[in-house]
């Protein structure tokens, strides 16, 4: 389960908890001759896999990893795995479609070494603790995963054997039978009642909003979006090219109920002095106010940089107001390039007209924007 990012700090990760043994045996065997092809040019794929070699090797691995207990059982939900709710068993009266080897319920005691994840231990301490692990061949899996974690997991019923989450406490690990195989098997068993789904579903909006620096791309701070369907950047995975094209398609097509809100319209936004551009979906907003507050959030991290402080998440509110001041003051001005290629001040024309003609946005230094005002007035006069 995904904890909010900050809690991971407790685990003291990255201190060499695991072994790094190069060239695991299973990979060597692919090039039976021992020749090591280096495919850095992408010139050939190492796909000449000797399948029998691999499967026998993986079986070997399995036994040494004690994974017999986790032979996959792809029955229908609830048919073989005793821990599942099976609340829908009534609906599914077919035989299991893909029975494999029967699952074993026994929690095989494993040869799992006690890998601890220290809580801010010194690097050498951590390494000493794993020296056994480090020297073990990669494939034997003598290490354990202690998942990153929130405490909610431990509240699960029947969590014996479930992958436990270590909130930085060393000793708890050895006491639980959290071997690799058990974790795998029962995770799926206990897995998915509504509790988990709810937990997971909660995570989505938080991921969308908590990202420091305001994320990139879409403005997540838009008040018009219902909270449950917060816009996640880059999801669903559709290219902007397609999104933009479909947006104008739906507008033009009479057959289709071309609501103005449908589709998307991505334009690039740059800010003078900021390292890189972003893209915003203009259709996600309905007023200039929406757009400008989203931009404030998006670019607040750059203003932080300019002020010389580090972009820690907690300081977002401070910087937002500062940016707002900057934007509303004379320091920065929001401008856009219209279809004729002219740069105009944002805000002169009605919102719908603005969306129709805006090709890209630029947050300009106020001093550079002075020349725009007369031109903008002229243009709006000629339009009206």
């Amino acid at each position: 389960m995904t904890p909010p990012p900050l809690s991971v700090v407790e685990e003291g990760q990255g201190q060499g908890n695991v072994s790094l043994v190069p060239s695991p045996a299973s990979l060597e065997s692919r090039n039976g001759s021992g020749l090591k092809e280096r495919n850095y040019m992408g010139l050939s794929d190492c796909s000449s896999v000797d399948s029998t070699a691999i499967s026998s090797l993986s079986e070997e691995n399995k036994s040494s990893m004690n994974l017999k207990a986790t032979e996959l059982t792809l029955g229908l939900p609830g048919s073989r795995l005793p821990d599942w709710d099976g609340s829908n068993q009534g609906k599914l009266d077919e035989k299991p479609l893909f029975p494999l080897l029967p699952s074993k319920d026994s929690a095989a005691a494993s040869s799992v070494k006690n890998v601890v994840s220290g809580n801010k231990r010194g690097f050498s301490d951590a390494m000493d603790g794993f020296s056994e692990v480090k020297n073990a061949p990669f494939t034997e899996g003598n290490w354990m995963f202690t998942g990153t974690g929130s405490d909610t997991e431990s509240a699960q019923p029947g969590s014996q054997g479930k992958f436990t989450l270590n909130a930085g406490v060393n000793s708890t690990i050895s006491s639980r039978t959290t071997s690799l195989n058990l974790g795998v098997k029962s995770v799926s068993g206990n897995g998915h009642s509504g509790v988990d789904s709810a937990m997971l579903n909660e995570i989505v909006p938080s991921k969308g909003h908590e990202r420091p620096g305001g994320g990139n791309g879409n403005g997540n701070g838009n008040g018009n979006q219902p909270a449950a369907k917060a816009q996640v950047v880059g999801w669903p995975p559709i290219r902007s090219y397609r999104k933009n094209t479909l947006a104008t398609t739906s507008k033009n097509n009479d057959e289709v109920d071309g609501k103005p809100g449908s589709g998307a319209l991505f334009v690039k936004v740059s800010m003078d002095g900021a390292p890189y551009l972003r893209k915003v979906d203009l259709r996600a907003y309905t007023t200039y106010q929406d757009l400008s507050s989203a931009l404030e959030k998006m670019f607040s991290c750059f203003t932080i940089g300019q002020c010389g402080s580090h972009g820690a998440p907690g300081r977002e509110s401070l910087s937002e107001s500062k940016l707002r001041d900057l934007l509303h003051g004379s320091e920065f001005v929001l401008t856009y390039e219209d279809k004729d290629g002219d740069w105009m001040l944002v805000g002169d024309v009605p919102w719908d007209m603005f969306i129709d003609s805006c090709k890209r946005l630029r947050i300009m230094k106020g001093s550079d924007a002075i020349g725009l005002a007369p031109r903008a007035m002229e243009k709006s006069r000629s339009r009206n």
Partner: protein, 585 residues
């Protein structure tokens, strides 16, 4: 082969033999036999494909292969398509062009994907390579139509100019008119992604004099009225992308169009259809029975019109549509297109919560039932069930690419509310040749165990909003012997799985992880332990020096390379290792 025999073949005979060896894989094997063969092979290699432009450098490539005629390069990671890679990350092709301008004066072909191309680069191509023939730019950006004008004007023997979904600054100039009147060599012209108008007379003349033109893909700005004239000048066309397909069809135009289309007896592929109005569709009925590829993914036609169209397309191999056609539209596909190999169904309203039409998992199931040759699927929908996935897996054991996107993250099986682990597990188990897989919906670590175990041929895996712990990532990295590309977003995968499987990364092209639980410290350790990997941290918050080691990185992109750390990184990208956070000096 005994060494004695090898020496008795003169080199030029070997070289001649090697010209029959095309595949990169075979050439690689050949080059490993002995030094002599290595040398002969490298001098005779004409085509080079580089899947990650930063895995090598121009100098290295040129040094090894001095006589290259065709180069293919891919730049940004795949997730750049979805705005996950900030602008300015890199992948500019100009250094390659400059280097090749000196080293490969006989370069003929350049194929780029997800790279930044500039007008200066295009101009240099047009002047430096006298025999330049093929330019294919997929998902590229950074250039304007001025650059295209240079290509048109200066490349005397241009055969292919193919712009696929590029972001081009259209200066509405007359780039197309820059093709000299003497140009007759075009075989393929695709400018569908451009916004602006081209000169229609120039286009008609160009099409008329290029008698070998096989592919012509127009952009939206070419109105339907212009199409008959173009088609009459190019009845040999095999691949047609229409412009805007909407007009009030007065009788003369209608018969004109119909006649022109009928005259194209070689047509195999149709695309375009922007702004399509149903009344115009019958004009393509004459060619339906012959076409093998149909792209209606920009055409918002409703089911009845679609069914009338598709039920005539008995020879279709490839079909791209919008979900607007609904399950029943796909049922029509299932009954009419028995040779279908590839299906892509795109969403038409991505920001719209209410769906007033019905596209569910049933559409895909019916296609898998009716089309036994189905191999490649990209499917966007709102609901899925394990049962449906079992059925699909059973019906389509020859599936090689399966990408399913359930639009709402973490959506469970809508019938059982369970995770979709079993369903996807069935796919990887039954489709033994599966090369590409994209997951979605509610998924635990279990699905990754299935994938790691059964995905023997899996080369590319895309994961989003799935899994529960490092175990999931570990399953994939410790299994999947053919894995080349792994891209992950918003999953609770962290340091342990990554570091435990560090060696695996060197057998892969690249790994992308964004919004996961990987710490900066782990990235540094990975970079330090694996000198042949570039471990890039892409992060807005500031230099790694200012952030603590236990802080989570926003994006990690790790790829193997023989070229060492790159020096064209923007300020928000760092190649990390323990000793020094290397940044361009």
């Amino acid at each position: 082969m005994p060494a004695l025999m090898a020496f008795s073949f003169p080199e030029d005979v070997m070289e001649h033999i090697f010209t029959f060896i095309d595949s990169d894989k075979d050439r690689n094997s050949v080059s490993l036999v002995c030094k002599s063969w290595y040398e002969i092979e490298r001098w005779s290699r004409r085509r080079v494909f580089i899947g990650n432009c930063y895995a090598a450098s121009p100098r290295i490539v040129i040094r090894r292969f001095p006589e290259v005629r065709s180069l293919s390069l891919k730049g940004k990671p795949h997730f750049a398509d979805f705005n996950l890679v900030p602008e300015g990350w890199g992948a500019c092709v100009d250094p390659w062009i400059s280097a090749m301008a000196e080293a490969y004066p006989t370069l003929e072909e350049l194929r780029l994907k997800r790279m930044v191309v500039t007008d200066e680069g295009l101009e240099l191509i047009s002047r430096a390579f006298k025999n330049f023939r093929v330019l294919v730019l997929s998902s590229c950006e950074g250039f304007t139509t001025d650059g295209l004008g240079a290509i048109a004007a200066n490349c005397r023997n241009l055969r292919e100019l193919d712009l696929r979904e590029c972001e081009v600054d259209d200066r509405c100039g007359h780039w197309l008119s820059c093709f000299p009147e003497t140009c007759t060599s075009l075989v393929s012209l695709n400018f569908a992604c451009l916004d602006g108008e081209v000169s229609f007379p120039a286009l008609e003349r160009l099409v008329g004099r290029c008698t070998n033109l096989k592919t012509l893909r127009l952009n939206r700005a070419v109105p339907l009225e212009k199409l008959p004239n173009l088609l009459k000048r190019a009845p040999q066309l095999v691949d047609l992308g229409t412009g805007s397909f909407s007009v009030d069809l007065y009788p003369e135009l209608s018969s004109n169009l119909l006649g022109a289309v009928t005259g194209c007896k070689e047509l195999k592929s149709l695309s375009g259809f922007w702004d399509v109005t149903p009344a115009c569709l019958p004009s393509i009925y004459p060619v339906c029975s012959g076409i093998t590829s149909l792209n209606l993914s920009y055409a918002t036609i409703r089911r009845p019109d679609f069914v009338k169209l598709v039920s005539q397309c008995h020879n279709l191999h490839q079909l791209w549509v919008l979900d607007y056609i609904e399950d029943s539209g796909l049922a029509a596909v299932a009954s009419s297109c028995k040779d279908l190999k590839e299906l892509r169904v795109f969403p038409s309203y991505i920001n719209d919560a209410e769906q007033n039409f019905q596209l569910t998992e049933r559409g895909l199931v019916s296609v898998s039932e009716g089309c036994p040759k189905l191999r490649s699927v990209l499917y966007f929908c709102h609901q899925m069930s394990n049962e449906a996935l079992f059925t699909i897996a059973r019906n389509s054991p020859n599936m090689t690419r399966f990408r399913l996107c359930i639009i709402e993250p973490h959506t469970p099986d809508y019938l059982t509310q369970q995770s979709l682990d079993a369903g996807f597990g069935a796919i990887v188990q039954h489709c033994k040749g599966l090369q590409r897989l994209s997951l979605s919906g509610l998924l635990t670590d279990r699905v990754f165990e299935y994938i790691g175990n059964y995905g023997k041929k899996l080369e590319m895996l895309s994961v989003a909003f799935a899994g529960e712990s490092d175990l999931g990532l570990h399953h994939v990295l410790s299994g999947c012997p053919s894995l080349r590309k792994l891209e992950i977003r918003d999953c609770p995968f962290g340091d342990k799985a990554l570091l435990a499987n560090a060696a695996k990364l060197e057998t892969m092209r690249s790994l992308w992880m964004s919004s996961c639980s990987v710490t900066l410290g782990a990235c540094k350790l990975l970079g330090q332990k694996m000198p042949r990997l570039n471990v890039e941290v892409i992060d807005e918050r500031g230099s790694p020096e200012s952030l603590p080691d236990d802080c989570l990185v926003e994006r990690l992109y790790a790829y193997r390379t023989v070229a060492g750390p790159r020096f064209d990184m923007p300020s928000f990208v760092w190649t990390v290792d323990e000793e020094s956070n290397s940044r361009p000096s």
